[in-house]
């Protein structure tokens, strides 16, 4: 298995692509890395508002009727964490071997990749930092902060999650570009205060930063190059393979 440092990564630009088999495509990236392919960064958007659930999150926490009524699709992530509404975000995913230098802890990988994300956001004039660690939260990803996430001030701008297999890791995360007319509060069974969720989060649009998905994607890619020294070869992902996971 190749190392993540000092090799050319694959860059898969799926911004504007859809409808989404995004979770299968992310898992296919991880499978490719496990099979010996170089690390990969993929950036993408969602053509249909989609609520993604953490791998072990109970479906009972989700208001299926509301999702149907509001035209929100459901997807099951292979990673941990809680429910996250996609559609107003840019999603990134990274598949890579765990480093050979021993810095393989969950938080260590979050911190390493955060350097690239923070550098990318800085190119847009956004001053972000690794979020505080509040421990496990409730059923809404963006209602809580952990060390996996990025904040601007005290408000969460990016939520991330990982899955690890046999010495490789897939990490993906959602960068808030702009608000949708609905949010997670409309889609989960637990009553949530919409104003509190809004106050706990911030979008690039609200920060006055560029929030066009392709512009943000370019900045994030550049962040990987400048902060982590990654070089990229643009490529396309072959049609997502059948994953070992049974996804929703």
């Amino acid at each position: 298995m190749p190392t993540a440092v000092g090799v050319t990564w694959r860059l898969i630009d799926d911004v504007g692509c859809g409808p989404a088999d995004h979770m299968q495509r992310d898992l296919a990236m991880l499978d490719d890395v496990l099979a010996g392919a170089p690390p990969a960064l993929r950036v993408y958007t969602w053509s249909v508002p989609t609520l993604s659930l953490g791998k072990f999150q109970s479906i009972d926490e989700i208001d299926n009727d509301a999702c149907e009524r509001l035209g929100v699709a459901l997807a099951r992530r292979p990673t941990g964490g809680a429910a996250l509404l996609h559609g107003g975000d840019l999603t990134y995913s990274v598949a890579m071997p765990l480093p050979e230098d021993g810095h393989t802890g969950v938080q260590e990988i979050y911190d390493w990749l955060a350097r690239a994300l923070i550098a990318g956001l800085a190119r847009l004039g956004v001053d972000s930092a690794v979020a505080r660690h509040d421990g496990p939260g409730g059923p809404v990803c963006f209602a809580g902060q952990q060390g996996a996430d990025l904040r601007v001030g005290d408000r969460k701008v990016c939520g991330s999650a990982q899955v690890r297999r046999q010495g490789a890791v897939l990490q993906h995360g959602s960068i808030l570009l702009r608000r949708l007319a609905i949010d997670e509060c409309d889609l989960v069974m637990t009553p949530y205060d919409k104003q509190a969720l809004r106050a706990a989060t911030i979008t690039l649009d609200e920060l006055g930063a560029p929030c066009e998905a392709s512009v943000v994607a370019d900045a994030i890619v550049t962040g990987f190059m400048t902060a982590l020294g990654v070089a990229f070869t643009p490529t396309t992902l072959v049609a997502a393979k059948d994953s070992r996971d049974a996804l929703m």
């Binding site: 953490g54 791998k55 072990f56 292979p78 990673t79 941990g80 964490g81 230098d101 021993g102 393989t104 802890g105 969950v106 938080q107 260590e108 979050y110 421990g135 496990p136 952990q146 060390g147 996996a148 991330s160 999650a161 990982q162 899955v163 690890r164 297999r165 046999q166």
Partner: protein
């Protein structure tokens, strides 16, 4: 970091306690520390056949999901049901109350392929 002498280990950071034809399995102190706060353990089913090195359980921590591999081949004889309600025990007591499952061995010779404490310590310290 603890490496109990009486246990066997795998490169995937599981520990194995052999008791006759049965093996008790958990994750090591190093693994629980690297994973962070454990919030969920997906246990295998009692009676399921498992093959050495195949995935048989999963652990979720800090928004990360990690596979747990069967160190040896056999049949799942018992699982630690207390982890359903208190998965954080794996962090607090990885070699004791945080055990994950028991396997009835089908090939005792596989135990010879596991690492002893000194070899596992060397593996961890070489990282």
């Amino acid at each position: 970091m603890e490496f109990p002498e009486q246990l066997k280990y795998t490169k995937e950071h599981e520990w194995v306690a052999i008791d006759g034809a049965r093996a008790r399995v958990g994750i090591t102190d190093y693994a629980q520390d690297a994973l962070g706060d454990i919030v969920f353990v997906q246990l295998p089913k009692v009676g399921a056949a498992v093959a050495a090195n195949a995935t048989c359980a999963e652990v979720e921590s800090t928004k990360s999901v990690s596979d747990i591999y069967a160190p040896v081949s056999g049949t799942i004889a018992a699982v630690n049901e207390t982890l359903n309600d208190t998965p954080e025990i794996v962090n607090r007591d990885p070699y004791g109350a945080g055990w994950i499952f028991d396997v009835d061995l089908t090939d005792a010779a596989e135990v010879d392929g596991l690492l002893d404490a000194s070899a596992y310590r060397a593996l961890v310290e070489s990282d």
